[in-house]
Each structure stands twice: as C-alpha cells, then as structure tokens.
Subunit: 242 residues, 2 copies
C-alpha cells in the first residue's frame, strides 16, 4: 500500500526542505517523490538535510507541471494548513490514512504539498478529490512542509501496519448512521424484553453502549451478526411467552 502512494511537492522554494521531506519519507517506509518545478534542485542543502535518504532524492521525478506529476494517479489528495472556501471534502490525516490503507492497495495515490509560503492554489485544489488538514493551533497553523509530510507519512505507516494485522475485516463497507440507529433501536427493545434495562437508567446504559459500538466502527457484516444475535435472543423469549 505505501508503495502506491506518491508525495508531490509543488514549487518548493528551499532545497533544504526537499531533503528533509526525503528523510521524513524514508523514515516512514515511503519512497516515491515527485517535484513540480522546484526552485533549486539538486542542491547540497537538500542532500545535507536528507541525511542518508539520498536514494529518495536520486530517484525523485522532476516535472514541469502538476498535471504531469499526477497523470497516472487515481486518487489525488491536497494537504492544506487551513480550511479553504473551495468545496472539497476535508479529512484528518488519521481518517485519510485509514481510508488509504484500503484504497491504496489497488489505486495509485498522490498527496500534494504546496509552496512554503502560500500552499496550493485554487486551480491546483480543483485537481484534488479530498483535502487533508492537519489539526493544529488555530493561531499558528502553518507547519513546516517537511514536518507536515512527516505527520502524514507517520499516519500512513501506522495505518498500513494496522491494516496488515487485519486485512480481511475492513474490506467491506462500514455501517451507515441510519443502520447504526436502527441497530440501537433493536438493541434497546431486546434489552427491554429480557428485563435488563431499568427505565430509570436506560438513558445512561444506552449512551454507554452507543460509545462502545461507535468506537468499534462496525462494518455491515459485523452489524448483521450482532442483529442476528438480538433476533435469536428475543425469538426464544417470544416462544416462551407465546
């Protein structure tokens, strides 16, 4: 999955940052770097800050335009320090990485990082399906570009190792809110029927159970199993009292 994800730097000014990005990528097991019109590259500053990640710099692909750098990618994600007025859905690095742990297994993905001072331009964001925003201090939100690449690649490495542990589980779609609400209703009825819920306490018990299943982020197959259990439990009760 990580080998399908490309880091694209757009018009980077400082070659030291390009080196620091190469190091951050290699630390996190990533290797594909594309440079769109870098101001100065190659450069001794880049090599020095790469600190042993020279292989990433040596294999970096230099392009004249962003279009060229993402031509063969099916998914394009733009990193942005701030919320933009442009209508592109926003994601946190963690949510994005968890999604890519699945989607990047069979898709080529590009993650774009803009200029040090001004980020990505609107016509560049138009090429992105989603925007990746790193949580930060509202009054001081602009990370150094290599620091931003570090956070994103770190989340990708963590998500890829979690996906390696349980690949078969997350290949089906996650349950929707409506499906979860219907499950909670079913659960509430079943708990009433078996006499577990004391009407006075039902709100706090149900709230706790909601948190549990919310954290579990159920997929639709798992939801089917849980609903099957509820159905079977109450069916037996109905037989008893019929």
């Amino acid at each position: 999955m990580l080998s399908n994800i490309r880091i694209v730097l757009v018009e980077t000014s400082h070659p030291g940052n390009i080196g620091a990005v190469a190091r951050a990528m290699k630390n996190m097991c990533m290797s594909e770097l594309y440079l769109v019109a870098p101001k100065i590259f190659p450069s001794a500053d880049a090599t020095s800050r790469a600190s042993g990640a020279d292989d990433i710099l040596a294999s970096a692909v230099r392009c004249d335009s962003l279009q060229e750098a993402i031509a063969d990618c099916q998914l394009v994600i733009g990193a942005s320090a701030r919320s933009r007025t442009i209508a592109v859905p926003e994601e946190s690095p963690r949510a994005c990485a968890e999604r890519l742990a699945i989607e990047a297994q069979n898709k080529k993905v590009a993650i774009l990082f803009g200029r040090e001072n001004s980020g990505l331009k609107n016509h560049e964001l138009d090429l992105c399906q989603t925007l990746l925003t790193i949580p930060s201090n509202a009054d001081y939100s602009s990370l150094n570009i290599a620091a931003a690449v570090q956070v994103v690649c770190y989340e990708l490495l963590v998500a890829s190792s979690q996906a390696a542990v349980e690949p078969e589980l997350r290949d089906v779609s996650l349950a929707s809110s409506a499906q979860m609400e219907s499950f909670y209703e079913h659960l509430y009825q079943a708990l009433n029927e078996i006499g577990f819920i004391n009407p006075d306490k039902s709100t706090s018990i149900m709230r706790r159970l909601r948190r549990v299943y919310h954290r579990a982020a159920l997929d639709t197959k798992e939801l089917d199993i849980l609903r099957g259990i509820l159905k079977k439990s109450t069916a037996i009760l109905h037989k008893k009292y019929d």
Copy 2:
C-alpha cells in the same frame, strides 16, 4: 493537559533544530521548552527555523543538567529511535498520548529528546519511567529531532482534543486481557445456549466478534454492562427450561 507537558532537549548540536522544535511545538499548542546544555543558543539559525515561534524560544529555559530540567516533574518519558536493552517499558506515541491525556491533567510531565547523533545515554534513560518509540523503517529509523517532536506533539494534540470530547468515558481502567478472555468465554456459552452458534461456523463468528470488541477497547465498566446483559439473557433461558 498540554500546558502540563514540557519538551526537554538534551545537548542539541544544531541551533536550527531548536528553532524547528519551537515551531513544531507551537503548531501543536505546546509551549514549555527546556534546553539542557545546548551547543549554540541563542542563534540566528534557531530564530530563522522557528519561523514566528520566537515566543517559545524566548521563554525557553536553559539548564546545565537534565536533573535540573526535570526536578519538578512527576512523569518522565524518554524518546528513543530504537529499542534499547535497558529495562524501561516502551510505548508508541499514540498509546503514550492517550495515557497522558488523562495523567497530565494533574501531573507535570517531561518528554526528553536526546542528541541528534546519539540520542539519550543510559544514565539519562534511567531517569525515565517509560520509553517512547516512534514506529519507523527498521533500516532507517532515526528521525530528525524536530520531526520526532512534531509527531509526538501531534499525537498529544489529537489525544487532548479527543479527551475533551469524551472525558468521562476513559477515566476508568481498560479491561485486561484476562478479563476480555473471560468475557469471550461467557459470550461463547451464551451464544451456544440461545442456539445462535452453529458448531461448524463458531470459530469464524467468534473471531469476528473478538475483533469488534478488541477495536472497541472496552473499559471495565463497559465490560460489566456487557456481562450483565449476557447473564440476564441466559438466566431467562434457564428459567424456561428448568
């Protein structure tokens, strides 16, 4: 919680790294920086790389010894790029941040980052209760010090905002493996009794249910509720068949 966590840099060689650390901290809403015997500080390089986080540099506390820098801290954590032979428990940045989201609310915490080339020495690690290891490429594991601070502070910011959303839930202890195993046994028996489990398929169903509850990371109160439900369900059956 974030204001109770101090970043301590031990004998940093490059002033540029000190500046980059200040920026990484401010980006993630952290402010308390201690410098133990920095090689060169203050410095124009530090100010330049701090890129507007001058306030963090200006209020940085310079100490001659590590002991002095952590004297008032109740919890001391050492960042380390590699597993060490020394017998200190290791944690991932995420696990550590989630723990600190609770513990740092009423404790003063120091997170130590060692020298650029050689990290922390063993006698410095002896002062730490836990070791924080950032997941990385086994063949190229040494992050730039500011990049390491960025990842750790990012996890702290994310954990602090999650803790703000659900403070009451996670203040009890998480269920132990032994408690979870005992729950799975109880669950298996209950599913057998209600006739939900087909002996041929029980392994795969139980495996799926284990994944669900594993992801949910149950605390002991939640486990009590789930066990209460199982108990109530089967008690009714027993009444029926008695």
